[in-house]
């Protein structure tokens, strides 16, 4: 068993016209956090739905834990966990009741569920609230409950669909911590989707940028950023404008500009270039006040690859729509 997930030329066309996933291929290594980064409607959820056996692909192949989607669905279902984009815990039940129900779907006994859940609830700080009806939870609490439910049977491969959608910055950062801890403690593979740049950047080992159902680029966050521009090293010197800067020996040098006492140097890899830059300036007698290493953001990468940026409102629209739907049904 090598790869956790292998996807080859996957395609999904809804109702004969909407191409949700268009010839997508990628591989996910065991134990990594692999992220799909893309705007609303990019095909992230559709891909997850295919990999979790909910929706059959139109064409192409997918293997999850060496089992072929569409042929060995039952085997796949046994080893995966899904934390869906929508909040789908039953809000007429308590946290515990939801957890028991979830565990029993995987053939776990009540005592197994109890001991497993206690640890998880503690980790996400939900022990106190577990006896309350889910209806009384805040958005952040519900997300954390969803996470506990997705983990209760210790899946080999966990799917997280927009795990922090609609949460405030602080709550999101907490949830990232939980996700990192889960990965290291349970040694699982995580496939996640997000439209938050910072989330993909901070959480994922590797990212696939997806737009209109197509993968635009795959790589580590650093690789992706390097694809576009390289790093920027900004050096400020104490006195005078440096007139004869000579940076020939700097590895991976692209170009540089001088602005007063500030030199902005573009290089391929900041870590490798910085020592050489400092040395060359110091050897010429310049006194250095500060050195700053600026990495290009994923935001820029996305813009360059797709020609547009991921707008926040798009995401918010879906949330308020969902809330509305719930109210209407409520």
């Amino acid at each position: 068993m090598e790869k956790a997930i292998v996807v080859k030329n996957l395609r999904k066309v809804y109702e004969g016209e909407v191409v949700a996933v268009d010839d997508v291929s990628f591989e996910v290594e065991r134990g990594e956090i692999f992220g799909f980064l893309g705007p609303n409607g990019a095909g992230k959820t559709t891909t997850i739905n295919i990999l979790t056996t909910l929706v059959p692909p139109t064409s192409g192949e997918a293997y999850v834990g060496d089992h072929k989607v569409g042929e060995e669905d039952e085997e796949i279902r046994r080893i995966i966990g899904l934390v869906p984009q929508e909040l789908t815990a039953d809000d007429e039940l308590t946290g515990w009741e939801n957890i028991y129900l979830q565990g029993s779907l995987y053939g776990m006994s009540r005592s197994e569920i109890r001991s497993e859940a206690r640890e998880l609830l503690q980790m996400v700080g939900l022990e106190e609230a577990a006896d309350r009806l889910v209806r009384t939870y805040s958005g952040g609490m519900r997300r954390r409950l969803e996470l506990v439910m997705g983990l209760i049977h210790k899946p080999e491969i966990l799917f997280l669909d927009e795990p922090t959608l609609g949460l405030d910055v602080q709550t999101r950062a907490h949830l990232w911590d939980h996700i990192r801890r889960v990965r290291s403690e349970y040694d699982m593979t995580i496939f996640m989707t997000t439209h938050y740049m910072d989330e993909a950047d901070k959480l994922c080992d590797r990212i696939a940028i997806i737009d209109h159902g197509r993968i635009k680029a795959i790589g580590t966050p650093d690789e992706l950023k390097r694809m576009v521009e390289g790093d920027l090293v900004i050096v400020r010197t104490v006195d005078g404008p440096p007139i004869d800067v000579r940076l020939d020996g700097v590895p991976g040098l692209k170009d540089y500009t001088i602005d007063g006492t500030e030199i902005r140097i573009r290089v391929e890899e900041g870590e490798r270039a910085t020592p050489a830059i400092i040395e060359s300036l110091v050897s010429r007698g310049y006194q250095i006040r500060s050195v700053e290493l600026v990495r290009p953001s994923l935001e820029q990468v996305f813009l360059t690859l797709t020609g547009r940026s991921i707008r926040e409102e798009e995401a918010l629209d879906t949330i308020s729509y969902r809330v509305m739907m719930r109210r209407r049904r409520g």
Partner: protein, 277 residues
Amino acid sequence: MSGALWALTEREIKKWYRRRIAIVFTFITPLMWLALFGKSFNLLSLFRAPDDLPPEIVRTVQEVIDSIITRAFGTTDYFTYVATGMFTVFILFTSMFSGMSLIFDRRLGFLNRLLVSPVKRETIYLSRVLATVIRSILQFTGLFIIAIALGINLGPGVGPLHIFLTYLNLALVAYIFSSIFISMMLRVTEHDTAISMANLLNLPLMFASNSIFPEEQMPSWLKTVALLNPISHSNEVVRTLLIRGSLEIPVTSLAYLLGLALVSTVMGLYLSRRYLR
């Protein structure tokens, strides 16, 4: 995976008893029918011997009328006749909405939770059927107590065994109806569909049965429908047990109900495996 079956059934039951107000509402319609037909339109009080005749003739005429009525209705008390018919109708009303929870689970995404798990699709389906049977039986107990309070005349010799068999029969009917209605809702995503279908079917199914009137008196086309209607057969069983106080359950009715249960089981299991995704 019987743990999953019970856990899913338990969920349905829990959600049901937490909606106490909704439970009260489920009794309103059958009570209306009971009050309207059983108490207000007391059909059989129309048939009184004229009292301007000599007393012994009045008595004789009344006896003749009563024997005719008893032949048709099995009792001279119309309320008892309607009440025993309403039990099965009540089960129908309850079962008709048994597919609703599935539609909501689909809409709210809860169903996906079940579908990505290794739980058998048939288990998901059966849990709904089982929950409806349990719910129907508990609700029937409520209606039965109300009917006793309103003065239902149970036949002489009705004992615990008769009542136990009535329960079994009604559980069988709940099983048949809920299997059919849940099967029909496996692919449905709009709850309006379920409500419209229930509204379309409930009254015709009730009137085209012997619940409020014996089928012997019906026009022949209606009689045919009534004879195919499982409600009529269940009523036969219930009335044999509770009005006649007899244990000689009509074999054809019982066989018909068991046959339907078998067919609906096969159909439900097949359809749930195929369409529950």
